[in-house]
């Protein structure tokens, strides 16, 4: 979401008049995010801990039904009191966003897997003092409150051209990767590193769509990685990418929708803690995609479509262990593009 859309964003959220709860560890935690969350109307700031249940009971008695809960990672999973059971007991269908600063302590995904967290936003340190409308957290709040679908262009400057390619054969992979790297023009080690990241991301995204997505009934893969294949008559794979001078965004869609939503975080968590498939062929693809992107987006319409993508910035965090965000969204099949097969 671009800074120029701040006014319309605020107006939209005001019109929605949905209550948003934000749960912090303590006053210092709340202070860090004060400016970031200032543009969210109807926000109620709470502290995690033993008194949370009592506070939520009071809110319910007052008839306040939150549409969204934001939880600082300093409360969960780092804090002593997991607020998720009490939040879900009071508001069973509540949408949750976990948020963290990029420089926050490392975070294990295992508890997030067990608690079915679908949204983790990691806010780059430099942006916490900038325009809230341009931040990944504000974008996530806006999209979840308004049921708006994430768009790749949200992360690019207005007017940035997005190139689209249809894939017909596995033979196109290297040419597409070349086309992507040519979009990142310029000299210097940072631009070269961004080109290399973009090339690897495109490689993994395309391999997943070409070889990982096609499944037989029962779930067995139809094709072996590396084999030459043409797409099936009604199969569709699309590749989109844009570069605005500092941010490279890309996504790949396939028409299978075969990636189980719960398997995404399970895959990320098992590879993060080292219990993943170390030597299994191609078993780390999505993990590598998540690690190199600033924010991973996976949108799945089961049996119809999977879209995987995100963005990476020129001056992003190059620490391989740095925490990265994700959004895992399941869409109803009727909302997705028609399936090929």
């Amino acid at each position: 979401m671009h800074a120029h859309s701040l006014l319309s964003t605020k107006e939209t959220l005001v019109r929605k008049s949905t209550t948003v709860l934000a749960v912090f560890a303590d006053a210092a935690d709340e202070k860090v995010w004060e400016q970031e969350l200032a543009d969210i109307p109807n926000i109620i700031r709470l502290r995690g801990g033993e008194s949370l249940s009592h506070t939520l009971s009071t809110l319910r008695r007052l008839g306040l039904e939150p549409g969204l809960v934001l939880i600082s990672t300093r409360v969960y999973p780092h804090g002593d009191h997991n607020p998720l059971p009490v939040l879900r007991r009071h508001f069973p269908a509540i949408k949750l966003i976990l948020f963290s600063a990029a420089d926050a302590p490392p975070l294990s995904l295992s508890p997030l897997k067990h608690n079915a967290i679908k949204h983790l936003v990691v806010e780059p340190a430099g942006e916490r003092t900038g325009s809230a409308a341009g931040s990944p957290l504000m974008l996530a709040v806006f999209n979840l409150l308004t049921d708006r679908q994430w768009q790749m262009a949200d992360y690019l400057r207005p007017g940035t051209p997005v190139r689209e390619f249809d894939i017909h054969s596995s033979d196109q992979k290297e040419a597409l990767i070349d086309a992507l790297t040519e979009m990142v023009e310029g000299d210097g080690p940072e631009l070269e590193l961004l080109r290399q990241k973009g090339a690897l991301l495109a490689d993994e995204l395309l391999e997943n769509a070409i070889y990982g997505a096609p499944r037989r009934e029962g779930g067995a893969k139809m094709f072996r990685k590396g084999e030459q294949r043409r797409l099936l008559p009604a199969e569709h794979i699309g590749f989109r990418a844009g570069f605005d001078g500092t941010t490279l965004a890309m996504e790949v869609s396939d028409s299978w929708g075969s990636l189980p939503p719960d398997a995404v975080i399970e895959h990320l968590a098992s590879n993060q803690d080292g219990s993943g498939p170390a030597e299994e062929a191609g078993g780390r693809g999505l993990f590598i995609i998540w690690r190199f992107l600033d924010q991973l987006h996976v949108t799945i319409a089961p049996g119809r479509q999977t879209v995987v993508g995100g963005h990476v910035r020129l001056h992003g965090d190059d620490d391989p262990s740095a925490l990265k965000g994700f959004h895992i969204i399941t869409r109803q099949p009727e909302c997705a593009a028609p399936h090929n097969a």
């Binding site: 590193l193 990241k197 590396g226 030597e279 062929a281 191609g282 780390r284 590598i288």
Partner: protein, 103 residues
């Protein structure tokens, strides 16, 4: 960077030197499978200075190759010539647990 992959094993004094050229992906499977059989020393040095992109399949194949060399040949492995990208990739996927970066 060359995209045609080749892997050359040379016997040096005291170690085997493995030179990796081009991208490491599924196409490199047979080449990497053949490396262990060519190892004769207890020190193996992999040179990645001419290597290109290494994807997740390439990482899986390298891990299998390194594991075989360590277990079957009882050899220590060092890696050199890694660019920034591949260094990050090796760190995040645990490759450095099997092969130490050359000093």
């Amino acid at each position: 960077m060359a995209t045609v992959t080749s892997i050359v094993v040379n016997r040096e004094t005291g170690w085997d030197a493995v030179f990796v050229h081009g991208n490491i992906d599924a196409q490199a499977e047979e080449l990497l499978k053949g490396v262990e059989a060519q190892v004769t020393r207890h020190q193996v040095r992999f040179d990645f200075s001419e290597a290109g992109r290494i994807n997740s399949m390439g990482i899986a194949l390298l891990l299998r190759c390194f594991k075989n060399i360590k277990e079957i040949r009882q050899a220590e492995i060092t890696v050199s010539g890694l660019n920034t990208m591949n260094t990050m990739l090796f760190k995040m996927t645990g490759v450095f647990l099997l092969a130490k970066p050359a000093e």
